[in-house]
């Protein structure tokens, strides 16, 4: 067991898979020589060399095209899109090409690739470098969507994503890079599409993702001291979506809160809430409450950004009010 930062877990996860499978390659802007602008990929160039770890031009379409064409022909690429906001300049590759290739060709084309990206706010980068766009990805049939909250899951879900035969978008949270958790020694492999119950409590279920998981857990600790006992579920992936874990929990708690960093309209929690309304309505003792970033572009000022993205205090206060 070693304590790793979430940042260090990224290179550990990629290296684990590159050692295991010589067909795994890694490409992106500033990822090799510079070790990534977030220093997430330090050391990979030294270990695996410039043939397998490639610095690219600022050409997001070319990067994802190279990844797709390689994946179609026997290679297992991991591509980096530096900030998830930049998906907007290469979304054609993701949505029209990568996501649809298998279905449109009725199974002829394989696309086993991973696109990892720095997602999310609370980093004071302003509206074009702070977005949570995991809900964009969730809306597109044909891609899997993963967002780890811990260093362990960065390694284990990266392994699962690389080994998966389908394209996976891997959303790392920029504000989690400096956080530390224990990661088991040796090979770490998790399973896509399995949520994890991070805390068990009988009064309500809180479903969260990525940076919202530690915030939900901290809010749950505050509430516990007031006698409100919360279950916290870390979804870990949006596609596949582990509704069984959520629905089982609601049977026990009868209340659901989602904590989402994406803007409110069409956020992932809306889908979760709609499924719960359809399939567990009679298990609920009250309305589903979504705690989200408002439907706003994100501001740069720390004061304003902290008002926008769900905070521990907002999560705790919302649940306190709803349950009292």
């Amino acid at each position: 067991m070693a304590e790793l930062t979430y940042r260090e877990a990224v290179s550990r996860g990629i290296a684990q898979e590159m050692r295991r499978d010589p067909s795994v390659v890694f490409l992106g802007e500033d990822v090799a020589g510079a070790g990534g602008v977030f220093k997430t990929t330090t050391g990979l160039l030294d270990e695996f060399g410039p043939v397998r770890v490639v610095d690219t031009p600022i050409s997001e379409q070319a990067i994802l095209g190279a990844a797709m064409g390689a994946a179609m022909t026997g290679i297992r690429p991991i591509a980096e899109i530096m900030f998830s906001d930049f998906f907007a300049v290469c979304w054609d590759m993701v949505v029209n090409e990568i996501a649809k290739a298998r279905y449109m060709t009725d199974g002829q084309v394989d696309c086993p690739l991973v696109i990892r990206t720095g997602n999310g706010g609370s980093v004071r980068f302003g509206a074009q470098h702070s977005q949570s766009v995991e809900n964009w990805a969730m809306a597109v049939p044909g891609i899997k969507v993963v967002a780890p909250a811990t260093a362990h899951d960065v390694v284990g879900l990266m392994a699962a994503a690389v080994r998966d035969p389908d394209p996976v978008l891997f959303f790392e949270h920029k504000a989690l890079y400096a956080t530390k958790q224990d990661v088991a020694d040796g090979e770490v492999v998790e399973e896509l599409g399995r949520a994890r119950v991070r805390r068990e409590g009988s009064d309500c279920t809180i479903v969260a993702l990525a940076l919202m998981v530690p915030r939900a857990l901290e809010a749950a600790e505050q509430l516990a001291s007031e006698g409100i006992d919360c279950t916290v579920i870390d979804l870990r992936s949006l596609i596949p979506l582990d509704m069984t874990t959520v629905l089982d929990s609601i049977q026990a708690t009868s209340r659901l809160f989602t904590v989402e960093e994406n803007p409110q309209a069409c956020g992932w929690g809306a889908e979760v809430a709609s499924i719960v309304a359809n399939e567990a309505f009679w298990d609920l003792d009250g309305p589903v409450v979504r705690i989200t970033t408002p439907h706003l572009p994100l501001p740069a000022s720390d004061v304003l950004e902290d008002l926008a993205i769900p905070s521990v205090e907002r999560v705790a206060e919302t649940i306190r009010k709803a349950l009292n």
Binding site: G65, G69, Q108
Partner: protein
Amino acid sequence: MSGTSSEVDSPATTARPGYGQHDPIYPEPFDDSLDRADIPIETRLELYRKQQEIRQLEQRLYDLFVQNLVKGTSHLALGMEAAGAAFGVALSSDDYSFATYRGHGHTIARGVPPEPIIAEMLGRSTGLLGGKGGSMHLTSVEHGMMGSYAIIGAHLCIANGAAWSAKLRASGQVAVAFFGDGATNIGAFHEAVNYAAVYELPTIFVCENNLYMEYTSIGQVTPVANPAADRASAYGIPSTVVNGNDADAVYLVAREAIEHARSGGGPSIIETKTYRHGGHSRADPGTYRPDDELEVWMAHDPIPMYHQRLLRIGVGERELTEIETSVAAAIDAATEAAKSAPPPDAEALWTNVWADGGWQWRN
């Protein structure tokens, strides 16, 4: 206001013709000296056969449209057969082709049989893509036909990926991306050519310049005469402009570019000057073309021109007729088989989203 309009009315803008205002562009004359080109007769007969296959397939698809048996849209390449045929002959069987939505010809040119192509157009279960892809996405991985891509530009970047993969695997394969003149003005073209040049990828970029980006003359919206080839120097890679209606001419430059890429020389751009006999798509009668332009190009139809060349170099009329009739018989048989094939089962809707064959996204 006058100051503003004179700034907008720059020389670069006024030099471009307005919509439908451009002068006609006529074909280069067929170069009879290529009669003596170093191309074996068997290869030339194959070039003729493939041009016939493309022509007769597309004419049949057009007929099936008129009969309302093909739904949706279709983008025919009648008049543009030479380039597809030339690459179909010049490529090795494991090389990669990436085509556009105008890709029926490139598909059959890689050896894909006509029946699954026609069945796909008719939306039948026996279609190349089980009825799920349609006209714009013809793909046959087993033939090296890695797809037909319907969003302009993307597949140039994807072809680079296949070329990169070939390089990583030291397989000696090359990747060819076919695209139209219109694609040279989208960002993905420039990203892809730069990327291929930087990594010396075995990608061959083949611009089939048919003079029109959809409905608009390419000259109206492009500041250089050769929209693909003239951009190559910006990326430090070789380029060739070739008569795209002469299968021998295209074959010779294709052979050279393929050899260049296969031997580690990196990417290149080939721009074929050609013309589509019809409009952009099923919906387009092509009325934006200057008066006699189509007429002159029709007189330079690649197939009768090539037929004449083969006669000049001593092939008998009878041998050519045999090729034509055997292709016609194959297209007829394929049409009948496709028409009598059943539609897809409802179950097909739910298959092959994921590698496990299914579509489930939640438990």
